[in-house]
């Protein structure tokens, strides 16, 4: 006997009705909300898991017996690592759109500023601050970016790893933004900007050694969540924002600099998103059905360790506030704001405030 085929001329949806002909949604995961988001469709279960659909288990191990992905790569625990969703819902299209828009904005700000001769009108004392200290700070951003690049290998799900990956992408872009910006305005400034000064200060100036130490501690951690949390929950509010918002954005205008704030504030926008992503993950871990207490202890330890380092780093930055000619912002005020911000982030997460900033 033969199947009598109904000749169907079209390969388009709806050309025929048969079992499954209207099954037009990815149906192997539970969306977080009522309906699946596009981000969820692009992301969920792409990194497989033997507890879900990986029938044959991981097929390669490291020589010590650790499989391709391991839950032991962080001290935190979770009953369901797949629950997490990045708040910014980023996938490739949105990521490139956002990054590209920032690149365009930053570049046109710089171009327009240069065209109007803006950099030549910067206050002399301010130019030196940019050269030495914004120049030093760009290395901090780079160190955060490379730490996150390392961390995105270790998470147990695609959602976590992609959130860390985009965070890394933002940080590395910003480190380069600052580098190229300093190079470009240097062309318009009499006497130029010494391209090696920033790194020299980063490596040797006592003002920056606390920051460098804090960053190196993050780089050296082999717990990817310690890295991710130390960066977004601790270092960013206590040191990153303190320098970017509490110093550069406050002081620039008073020194005839209207360009640097635009370049630097892109990083504030990046941080808002990365902070939200990170806080959501911390929130999940602290409300885990089985491991909430365990996670609270572990994350608490990390926060305390890195808060100590970041707090010391922040305190060492104080002399920078007295370098510009016009002192529109005071270090104690900015530092207070940073500490408050940090304590707020901890409160949002549901974490205790460590002694050092209490």
């Amino acid at each position: 006997m033969e199947g009598t085929a109904t000749p169907i001329k079209s390969g388009a949806a709806g050309a025929a009705t048969f079992p499954g002909s209207d099954s037009r949604k990815f149906n192997y995961y539970d969306p977080k909300g009522r309906k699946s988001t596009h981000y969820e469709d692009m992301t969920l279960d792409v990194q497989p898991d033997p507890d879900r659909y990986l029938l044959q288990d991981w097929i390669i191990n490291f020589p010590d017996g650790t499989p391709t992905y391991s839950k032991d790569w962080t001290r935190c625990k979770s009953v369901d690592w797949h629950k997490y969703r990045a708040v910014d819902q980023e996938w490739e299209k949105t990521h490139y759109q956002r990054q590209s828009t920032i690149c365009g904005t930053v570049q046109s700000v710089i171009e327009n500023g240069r065209r109007s001769g803006a950099a030549a009108r910067f206050d002399k004392s301010w130019v030196k601050v940019l050269q030495d200290h914004l120049g030093a700070y760009k290395h901090a951003e780079f160190g955060l970016g490379t730490s996150l690049m390392q961390a995105q290998r270790y998470g147990f799900t695609q959602m976590i790893n992609n959130a860390i990956l985009t965070n890394s992408s933002y940080k590395l872009r910003f480190g380069q933004d600052l580098t190229l910006y300093l190079g470009e305005i240097g062309l318009d400034i009499e006497g130029g900007i010494d391209k090696d000064a920033g790194k020299k200060h980063w490596m040797e100036d006592p003002i920056w050694q606390g920051t460098r130490r804090a960053i190196e501690e993050i780089m050296a951690s082999s717990d990817y969540l310690e890295q991710y949390i130390a960066i977004n929950v601790v270092f960013e509010p206590l040191v990153g924002e303190l320098f970017r918002s509490g110093f550069v954005l406050q002081m620039a205008a008073a020194h005839n600099d209207f360009i640097t704030p635009s370049v630097v504030s892109a990083a504030e926008g990046d941080y808002e998103r990365n902070l939200a992503n990170c806080v959501e993950l911390v929130h999940n871990l602290l409300n885990d059905q089985d491991y909430s207490l365990h996670n609270k202890v572990i994350i608490g330890e990390w926060v305390e360790k890195h808060a100590k380092l970041a707090h010391a780093a922040a305190a060492q930055l104080q002399p920078i506030w007295s370098l510009p000619r016009v002192k529109v912002a005071s270090f104690p005020e900015s530092f207070d704001l940073a500490r408050n911000r940090f304590n707020n982030v901890l409160q949002q997460c549901g974490l205790p405030v460590p002694a050092v900033t209490a």
Partner: protein
């Protein structure tokens, strides 16, 4: 006013040169002095030279360039829908995309993860931007492919199979061959996996077949979406090839690396051959309806890209550094494709196992036979009857091909190394590791498991080398199961809970579709379990018989369901 003077030139400002920009960006790195970074992904290689960045790019120009590429892709997808692409698309082709697109996003994102492993190994930070771009590129590839798959699901006549895609990837008896491709990039010795296997071999040699040959065939089948996406993906690949080559050059001058490099180039080449040629070869030769005799066959493409471009142009020149290249394996792979019918036998394997797949495979027809015979003389004598049987057995109520005794097909062993079926019977072999018996598709794959992936290589300790683990033989998972129960357990059912997701035909009509009732009563057996249970004498006899091969019985059944 000189004609060369444009508004752009008048307003353009002097900037820093790209060379200056990249050198400043590379200087962002420093050697930590307070705390040392842990060596988290070790390697047995020594990298003492600073790898050079051949691409000279900064992120500021990268992101807008990539966004522009994206805009073209998404614009083309919209245009394809406006042009009613799916009315004229060939379902035979789109069905195979259910398999291809289930496999590929995981290897892609694994490549992004691999950047973590190589980025820290090399001294200096010159290549960091290259690695960063590749990391973000691979994130792009993985999610843009998920997007394409969703788009097919929403617009193609039969969405079943797309709807379970990532679940299916982890479970299917065919997608399992893509598993090494992915985990192989990110587990074990960091250079073996993230540099040699991923970049030097998979990306440099084999992405052309994936991302250039596939799109051409897609277009011949009325699919204009896949070319748009995959040519865009491929356009990132030269950057990745550049990263891989720089890393290679940073290690190659150190003779202590040569032994390991020889090992890894051999392992990676052979596995890329067994896996990529199995999958992409089948998609291109069997997933198409275009039988233009003037187009290049898969082996002709292979000769150009793998033999000429990779082997002769890329690999041979590195012999001058004192590296022994695996010449014999290149010749052997070529013979397997041309003389031993590797692709055709794999296609046969995918087809007989259709119930435990999740897409439709229809029979090849007279028109296909003619093309195959033209491109692969002798094809008809060996495979013609098989596809006639397949057509005949595509009707619900017939005995499923896997268990049908009439046609003479003998189910193959699996290879413990590459996880592909051991379809070239004469190349089949067995080996022992730690007192356990394993089966392999070839001597090269046996070597990979028994010699290469071990703690010592030719007397040299290799403490960073990975190990093969897991349930690498798919059939082991369902040994002794009834076929219907296995399908239920796999979840390869349509929403009515009884119609099977896969079908052995393209008839989009409920009355032609197989349900669980049509397949129950047959027991799946793992050839590995069976061979391990044999006495040594029986085993030798079995191996000899297996290597002798089988013959498909003549199918005196007209032309299957195809009426002329």
């Amino acid at each position: 006013m000189s004609s060369g003077l444009t508004l752009n030139k008048i307003t353009a400002q002097k900037g820093i040169s790209i060379a200056e920009a990249t050198s400043r960006v590379a200087d962002l790195g420093w050697t930590p002095t307070y705390v040392q970074e842990a060596e988290t992904f070790p390697t047995d290689y020594k990298i003492s030279k600073v790898p050079r960045d051949p691409m000279k790019q900064v992120l500021r120009s990268y992101f807008p360039m990539q966004e522009e590429k994206d805009n073209r892709v998404y614009g083309a997808l919209d245009a394809a829908l406006r042009g009613d692409m799916f009315r004229n698309v060939e379902p035979r082709w789109v069905e195979w995309m259910k398999l291809f697109l289930a496999i590929i996003p995981f290897p892609e994102i694994s490549a992004a993860r691999a950047m973590a492993m190589v980025a820290r190994l090399a001294p200096g930070e010159e290549l960091r931007t290259g690695f960063t771009m590749q990391m973000v590129d691979e994130f792009r590839h993985s999610t843009i492919q998920m997007n394409l798959k969703k788009w097919y699901m929403e617009n193609y006549i039969d969405p079943a199979g797309f709807d379970i895609t990532e679940k299916a990837f982890g479970k299917c008896y065919a997608s399992t061959i893509g598993r090494q491709f992915g985990e192989g990039f990110i587990c074990g010795d960091a250079i073996t996996s993230a540099n040699v296997y991923l970049t030097v071999v998979a990306e440099t040699a084999f992405t052309n077949t994936l991302f250039v040959a596939m799109p051409s065939e897609a277009a011949r089948n009325g699919d204009y979406a896949l070319p748009t996406v995959f040519l865009s993906v491929q356009s990132d690949e030269s950057r990745h090839v550049g990263n891989g080559h720089s890393m290679l050059m940073a290690m190659i001058n150190d003779p202590s690396n040569h032994l390991l490099l020889e090992r890894d180039l051999k392992y990676a080449f052979w596995q890329n051959h067994t896996i990529v040629d199995a999958a992409i070869g089948t998609f291109i030769e069997y997933g198409t309806t275009n039988r233009d005799k003037n187009k290049e066959s898969y082996v002709e493409l292979w000769h150009r890209w793998i033999y000429e471009d990779y082997y002769r142009t890329y690999m041979l020149p590195i012999e001058k550094y004192g590296i022994k290249i695996h010449h014999d394996d290149v010749a052997a792979a070529w013979d397997r494709l041309v003389k031993k019918n590797y692709v055709h036998k794999i296609a046969q394997f995918f087809a007989v196992g259709w119930p435990v797949n999740f897409w439709r495979i229809e029979a090849q027809t007279e028109k296909d036979f003619e093309w195959f015979e033209h491109k692969y003389p002798g094809w008809y004598a060996e495979f013609g009857d098989f596809w006639k049987w397949y057509g005949r057995k595509s009707v619900p109520g017939e005995t499923n091909m896997l268990f049908d005794q009439e046609n003479g097909y003998v189910y193959p062993h699996r290879c413990w190394s590459c996880m592909c079926p051991c379809v070239i019977r004469e190349d089949f072999c067995v080996g022992e590791v730690d007192g356990k018996l394993y089966t392999y598709c070839s001597e090269q794959c046996k070597w990979t498991h028994t010699v290469a992936f071990q703690a010592e290589y030719e007397g040299r300790p290799t403490p960073a080398m990975g190990r093969f683990k897991g349930q690498r033989i798919w059939e082991d998972c369902y040994h002794g199961w009834d076929l219907a129960d296995a399908i239920k357990d796999l979840g390869f059912l349509r929403p009515d809970g009884k119609t099977i997701t896969a079908q052995p035909h393209l008839r989009f009509d409920q009355k032609d579709m197989w349900t669980l009732d049509h397949v129950k009563g047959h027991t799946i057996q793992s050839p590995l379990v069976l061979i391990r249970d044999m006495s040594p004498a029986d085993r030798d006899k079995h191996v000899a018989e297996y290597r002798a091969g089988f013959k498909i019985k003549p199918c005196n059944c007209g032309n299957g369901h195809h009426k002329h």
